[in-house]
Amino acid sequence: MSKRTDTIELSCPVPLPAREKILLGHGSGGRLTAELIRDIFLPAFRNPALERLDDQAIVNISGLRLAVTTDSFVVNPLFFPGGDIGSLAVHGTVNDLAMGGAQPLYLSAAFILEEGLSMETLRRVVDSLRRAAADAGIEVVTGDTKVVEKGKGDGLFINTTGIGVVPHGVSLSSDQARPDDAILLSGPLGDHGIAILAQREGLEFESEIRSDSAPLHRMVAALLAEAPAVRCMRDPTRGGLSSALNEIAAQSGVGLELDECVIPVSEAVKSACELLGLDPHYVANEGKLVAIVAPEAAEKALAALRSHPLGQEAQIIGRVTASHKGLVVLRTVLGTTRIVDMLSGDQLPRIC
């Protein structure tokens, strides 16, 4: 089949439950993904480390707390404003480790290459990965290469495993949010998702939007140094802010309240979302984090984020509450309220 660079990447928001097939929506980070994990993967691999379902697993080896994460990168197009699949692979993995408070140390990189991929493309991706790893201060220590037949892959996929060490005294987990905790967001939403969409011909608009893909571990270290009373952190990647917050609400058994007036979104991302009928709360980010912080530490945490180049537009966007457990509620710009629900699959542009 020919490469589909001229249309919006299909993603499936709604399954018919009687079907027994994997749909694109199962990879979207929303409800379908959660169901797949709950129904197929968790029952197979039950253990405490896995069941925490955080962005990383933390295991104890002779007193050393090791953070481990694995990730696969299947982005299409391979190259986009602000990054490519290579740099994204490093940043995404580093960030999963950083969300657990870990210092990232080592990376593995397994490549699945489609027969016919140009050597030049591979060189560009590998070079970008190299530079991103060096910049983040981590080493790629092992890897793998497989080639699949033409038509069986989107050019190039990368799977990574990241290893880091969690310092003493740092204990972050998505089930630790408590009523009155502050919700912090490190910067404007939607840059990555919209930058990707802008590359796809079906949507075809010119914008200044670049992916925000970036390694967050140094900002996290600065945050934890200034404000140790952080309960948990998530990076709002696939499924956007909504997925990350709904997961925290579910795992901690709390409600979250957000103020739409203070959630940062750039003008360009806002315009693109208006045009396509998208909600920025569901668009992917690759260089942002959400942190739940004890109320007395909120201002310090905000200052720590803002003092870092990647967190200059950080905001306190809401509070944790004991009401409406498991639900994320938004106070709109008009002062009314509505739910920010988890989507089933990816958001689709609409005309209606």
Partner: protein, 367 residues
């Protein structure tokens, strides 16, 4: 964004809401027709700003919701042909047909692609002359002119591998059916602002006069809808039944004549089945015979199949504004966006989905 942001100003919104509260003396049932208006009302929680005497019911203004099951099945059937590339707006992909939907068809190997504009579909056809590119053209009068131009461009460029599976619906005949129903309780209508941008509002004058029901052409931002509601309430309180225009920045009485001409050149009015309502005479558009070469119904000899909705789904009553989504016993329990029983739960403009996404916690708190 200019001409959008200022219509979301909270002070303006509250000001209009206060005016409504001051002038209302009794209960009124109002209907907004367009799904985009439903989306705004629910997404901004506008009912929280309105006095309790105003009850809003949501009309059938969602082409996704009202596209007949048979048409969805035809699209899925076409997508199953190995030489067909089915191109569609994102809205349609999730809608369940009688057995499956376009996403499942894709999982089964069908070539289904999503676009923002029909121009992208033309480009696909131009670049892949060996594929039969079928564009799933749904919509109201707002979208029909764009589809008309698309067909004309295909003809000019001799893109003979391009065709439309067209399923357009017209709003005024549906409103007439609603108003003729003995169960109708709607006393005033917010007319669809973008449909009227194309068509003007003359067709609504006839309806206002025949049924003595006021209508206000409304826009899509909070201030637009609140102002349209205020204008309706004033008319109702004064016992008037006229057509007024709130959406003056985009709509005038005659509409866009260039767009109407394009529609008339390419399409002709026909009877159309509306999912959840039934057959409404002269309420749809089909391609004229001169454009048969671009009509997928003609090229592919598709057959009509009789289909039925699941019995629990009350979408018929929701679409006609007779029930609110929250009055449906299956709402948010057996019928959710993941496992929809009917179309209004699938479309992001559908009343049920809008309620589910934004308002569920009221229901959950009440239970």
């Amino acid at each position: 964004m200019k001409y959008i942001d200022e219509y979301r100003d909270p002070q303006v919104a509250r000001g209009i809401a206060a005016q409504i509260a001051r002038c209302v003396t009794q209960s009124w049932v109002l209907m907004e027709i367009c799904g985009g208006q439903t989306h705004t009302l629910v997404r901004y929680g506008i009912d929280e700003l309105l006095p309790p005497q105003i009850r809003l019911v949501h009309g059938p203004g969602c082409p996704v919701c009202v596209t007949p099951l048979e048409t969805i099945d035809k699209a899925i059937a076409l997508a199953g042909h190995s030489d067909v590339t089915l191109v569609s707006y994102g809205d349609m992909l999730r809608v369940p047909g009688s057995r499956t939907d376009l996403f499942h068809a894709k999982a089964d190997g069908a070539d289904v692609r999503v676009v923002y504009s029909p121009l992208a579909a033309l480009r696909i056809a131009a670049r892949q002359p060996e594929r039969k590119v079928v564009f799933f053209a749904i919509g109201f009068e707002t979208t029909a002119p764009a589809h008309a131009l698309t067909v004309q461009q295909a003809a000019r460029e001799r893109l003979l591998n391009f065709s439309l599976l067209a399923s357009h619906v017209l709003v005024p005949p549906a409103i007439r059916v609603l108003l003729e129903s003995p169960r109708n309780r709607v006393q005033g209508f917010i007319a669809p602002g973008h449909v009227c941008t194309v068509m003007g509002w003359r067709e609504y004058e006839v309806l206002a006069k025949d049924f003595r029901v006021p209508m206000v052409v409304g826009g899509f931002e909070p201030a637009d809808l609140l102002e349209a509601i205020r204008m309706l309430v004033v008319q109702l309180e004064e016992g008037r039944a006229e057509v007024e225009n709130q959406y003056v920045r985009s709509v005038d009485r005659f509409g866009n004549l260039t767009a109407q001409r394009a529609m008339q050149e390419v399409f002709e009015v026909c009877d159309r089945k509306w999912r959840g309502i039934g057959l409404i005479p002269q309420s749809g558009l089909r391609l004229r015979r001169e454009f048969a070469a671009f009509d997928a119904e003609n090229i592919f000899a598709l057959e009509d199949v009789a289909v039925q909705e699941p019995p629990e789904c009350i979408s018929a009553e929701v679409l006609q504004g007779l029930k609110a989504p929250t009055e449906c016993p299956a709402f948010a329990t057996r019928c959710t966006p993941e496992k929809p029983l009917g179309a209004p739960m699938v479309s992001s403009e559908g009343a049920c989905a809008a309620y589910y996404l934004y308002r569920r916690h009221d229901v959950l708190c009440a239970k």
